[in-house]
């Protein structure tokens, strides 16, 4: 009889999914992804990447470490004091006491069995020891390695936090944080255990930080910059460092109580009194800052010292909002109630309650519970003004899920609990998380100091700096696709002749899936693109409005620098200069397995149009979460003016089991025109963008 281990492995590691299924599902996901991205987030910028892992001690001890023969005496002799000097250390963040900060003396590299580890940076300061390393070689996809520090006295400490970024070719950048080293330690061994099956040992020698490595922060006794306090929450600017070519800021959010988190990504916007928008590029380093999303470091321009500026907290949400969405974890507080559902339950049964819960300065009034399905009970609460959601929990072992339910039309909140089977005995139910908003705006007025000598003037214009490229046109072997794309290019080509401006206006209608809040059912989009004499787009303004003309999103791009006026995000988007290309036939039309049909029919306004349909079908119907109907295929249909080649309309659809199409969104082009200049308001928007 085979070994148990082998039989267990064979049993649990099989079967593999059918390759055809796997491939089709990938395509289906890509199609769904494209649908979801149809409402454009114009700014594609760096967002916080605070994913981290925690390391857990293992019983296995490392047998490998190397003693260091360091130049300790020489190093100490060369040190000098930077008493209580604070400042920004590039790549690491702000250090609170430069005199007690040590950095790597020289890079250290170790290779074994085709894997090379190179330590480029290390920082030891009073609160932590941080190291950054590059790993090249034949790394496995899956990683079991652990990192330790080993001091000369034999003290071995495992890392508390780590980050890794792996490139497409498999190389990695990693950072590790450890508890602070013993006071004054300048030699330490970094041990990486079980990386690709090998143990690595890297002797690191540290030296004192020198003054010229630091961008000094403003004096500690400067007036603290702080917003108003709302529901316990406030924004503060904790550190500011002035260099000749940039200003570095550290901002943080405070909540006045523990166990509170911001729900979503936040961003700071910096505006001048004349409405100008200053760059705020997020440069928060990984690993050396808390992973709780509460601290950010930004780089902005140098200043003259006379500017009257305002920081405004923005959420990277779909609409301009001034409030701060927060979640407070009350699960350790044991607030809750007992509930006996009884026996012989049937879906639809309800129970009445009249119980009020006080949670810090918030309150919730429980009024009803309903059995929504044989295993799910939904509870209904009347909230106070600022509570927006409730998550419940039960220690009952039958519990399988808890969910924050939708808000009811009368403003009441719901929360559901799902059980394997509804227990017949009394249940303990606890209020775990409360979601609420702190009322904004959160703003700070600020007059910066003048930058040190050599101030570089910010500019409001910028030429593209990257090599122009041709706009990519997907290649297809399908003759219908090729012919149609040629017709589309006939429309696009005259628009490339600059200089001038292209104005595009479209209206998009989206089917609202259950629970969908974004994109909205309807929005109008206006794009203004400036074309240079070479036909490249150099500047653009993007505006989304709802049916009542309210701005949903506005952004502007100059060269490859973009500011989203709605979310406050700003930064370089990595795009090369490109040519305008109105082609709604996506990559899917040229993919293997896509069926393409063409039919000639008049458009809505009577023009002679070509309708191109591209669709893929699946091996079996699929039902998306919350959807009542299954679909067995997805596709896109595009209407193009048969004479001019102008795209008139595009729809995405699902093929339902009964053979009908379910239209998910429709985008109609109202205007595509070339003009000499845009309205003054568009030029004003661009004028307000201060390019770094």
């Amino acid at each position: 009889m085979a070994e148990l281990n082998q039989v267990l492995t064979d049993f649990y590691k099989s079967p593999e999914p059918n390759p055809d299924f796997a491939s089709l599902l990938e395509k289906k996901l890509a199609a769904r992804h494209n649908e979801l991205l149809q409402f454009p987030q114009k700014v594609s910028l760096r967002q916080e990447k605070k994913v981290f892992w925690l390391n857990y001690p293992r019983s296995r001890s490392s047998a490998l470490w190397m003693s260091i023969v360091g130049a300790l005496v020489l190093l100490l002799a060369g040190a000098y004091t930077l008493a209580r000097l604070k400042g920004y250390l590039p790549g690491f963040g702000f250090v609170s006491d430069a005199g007690k900060t040590y950095v790597l003396s020289q890079p250290v590299e170790v290779s074994r069995n085709g894997i090379t580890i190179r330590v480029e940076k290390a920082v030891s300061e009073p609160t932590l020891f941080w190291v950054e390393l590059a790993i090249t070689g034949s790394l496995e996809e899956q990683d079991f390695s652990r990192a330790y520090t080993l001091l000369t006295n034999g003290e071995k400490t495992i890392s508390t936090m780590g980050y890794q970024n792996r490139s497409a070719d498999g190389d990695e950048q990693r950072t590790y944080s450890f508890p602070a080293l013993q006071n004054g330690s300048v030699q330490v061994t970094l041990i990486i255990e079980n990386l690709g099956g090998e143990d690595f040992s890297l002797p690191l020698v540290l030296r004192p930080l020198t003054r010229d490595e630091l961008v000094p922060a403003q004096p500690e006794n400067a007036t603290p910059l702080q917003s108003k306090v709302s529901d316990g929450a406030f924004l503060s600017i904790d550190q500011i460092a002035y260099a000749t070519d940039k200003t570095i800021l550290q901002a943080s959010l405070h909540f006045g109580a523990p166990n509170i988190w911001v729900m979503g990504q936040w961003q700071l916007q910096l505006t001048g009194s004349d409405g100008s928008i200053y760059p705020m590029v997020d440069i928060t380093p990984t690993a050396s800052y808390p992973a709780d999303n509460s601290v950010r470091i930004y780089e902005t321009n140098p200043f003259k010292g006379a500017e009257q500026l305002t920081f405004t907290l923005k959420m990277f949400t779909r609409q301009a909002e001034e409030d701060l969405p927060l979640m407070r974890d009350f699960s350790a507080d044991g607030i809750g109630f007992s509930f006996d559902p009884g026996t012989g339950l049937q879906a639809g049964k309800s129970w009445s309650f009249d119980q009020t819960f006080k949670l810090a300065d918030m309150s919730l009034h429980l009024i009803e519970a309903r059995l929504d399905s044989p295993t799910t009970i939904t509870f209904e609460f009347v909230p106070d003004g600022k509570v927006t959601g409730v998550m419940l929990y039960s220690p009952d072992p039958n519990l399988t899920a808890g969910a924050v339910g939708p808000q009811l039309p009368n403003g009441n909140l719901t929360a559901s609990l799902t059980f394997k089977t509804i227990p017949s005995q009394s249940l303990e139910i606890r209020l775990a998380n409360i979601y609420y908003t702190a009322r904004g705006p959160f703003q700070i007025s600020w007059q910066p100091q003048a930058a040190p000598i050599g101030l570089r003037e910010p500019t409001a214009t910028m030429e593209p700096t990257l090599t122009p490229r041709l706009t990519e046109t997907p290649v297809s072997s399908n003759s219908i696709v090729t012919e149609t794309r040629n017709l589309i290019q006939k429309f696009n080509e005259p628009l490339h002749h600059g200089p001038g401006w292209i104005h595009i206006q479209s209206e998009t209608t989206t089917r609202q899936a259950p629970g969908q809040t974004f994109p909205p059912a309807f929005f109008r989009n206006d794009q203004w693109l400036e074309i240079d004499s070479a036909g490249n787009v150099t500047r653009s303004v993007w505006l989304d409005q709802d049916a009542e003309g309210r701005i949903l999103q506005q952004s502007a791009t100059i060269g490859n620098y973009t500011v989203n006026f709605t979310s406050g995000q700003a930064g370089f988007n990595g795009n090369s200069p490109y040519q305008f290309n109105l082609d709604e036939m996506g990559q899917g039309f040229g993919q293997p397995g896509t069926e393409v049909f063409r039919q000639d029919e008049p458009c809505e306004d009577g023009r002679r149009c070509i309708e191109i349909i591209g669709q893929q079908t699946f091996s079996q119907p699929v039902t998306n979460p919350g959807e009542a109907q299954s679909f067995w295929g997805a596709g896109q249909q595009v209407w193009i003016d048969a004479e001019t080649g102008q795209t008139i309309e595009v729809q995405s659809f699902w093929l339902l089991e009964d053979g009908s199409k379910l239209i998910n969104y429709t985008k109609k082009y109202q205007v595509v025109e070339k003009v000499e200049s845009p309205p003054q308001e568009i030029l004003n928007v661009l004028k307000n963008v201060v390019v770094p």
């Binding site: 009889m1 085979a2 267990l8 992804h33 079991f144 044989p374 974004f518 998306n624």
Partner: protein, 180 residues
């Protein structure tokens, strides 16, 4: 029995919100574990494919919609979705008997022996409580680490580890008893 937890590139998750290609990379990393885990709960290829599809569609929508937070544990989040999908599925039907070996004449002797072992194993597994079977599926089919299972289950890592080891000890004891 070694199991290797997936380490996902943190940048990849961020990219996956914006590009189908990046999400596809995550998809290919997790497809086998998710499929195996679902299959071991259902015992039916077609239904496993259906649930696997639903899991990834919901994960995609959740990522774009911001329902996954960067400081979370991606594996635990993904397998929570899978567990919920299975719970929904169980409302409608009971799982079929596991029997998935495809036998050809060429490998018949080896398969007969393997099938005897597997039948014995499935019989032993059936004697374990559902909670313990689920732990083994999460550990060995899904390939989750103890920490990830702990995050998913809301337990502490040490208790998960101990529970898994106890299951294996129990299996080994009864497996060897059959040998003896």
């Amino acid at each position: 029995m070694a199991t290797k937890p997936i380490v996902i590139d943190t940048k990849l998750i961020e990219k996956a919100r914006r590009t189908p290609k990046a999400f596809a990379a995550i998809y290919w990393q997790y497809l086998n574990p998710v499929y195996r885990y679902v299959y071991r709960r259902l015992g039916n290829v077609h239904e496993a494919e259906d649930i696997t599809s639903q899991v990834f569609v919901e994960a995609l929508e959740g990522l774009i919609d911001g329902r996954y937070h960067e400081d979370g544990c991606f594996s635990a989040w993904l397998f929570t979705i899978a567990a919920h999908k299975l719970v929904d599925f169980y409302r409608l039907r009971q799982p079929m008997q596991l029997d998935d070996n495809h036998i050809t004449e060429e490998n018949l002797p080896a398969v007969v022996e393997a099938n005897e072992d597997r039948r014995h194993l499935t019989k032993l597994l059936a004697e374990l409580e559902e909670e313990k079977q689920e732990l083994l599926r999460l550990r060995f089919s899904a390939g989750l680490s103890f920490a990830e299972i702990a995050a998913l289950d809301g337990r502490n890592e040490a208790s998960v580890k101990m529970a898994v080891y106890r299951c294996i000890d129990w299996l080994r004891e009864h497996w060897e008893a059959r040998d003896g």
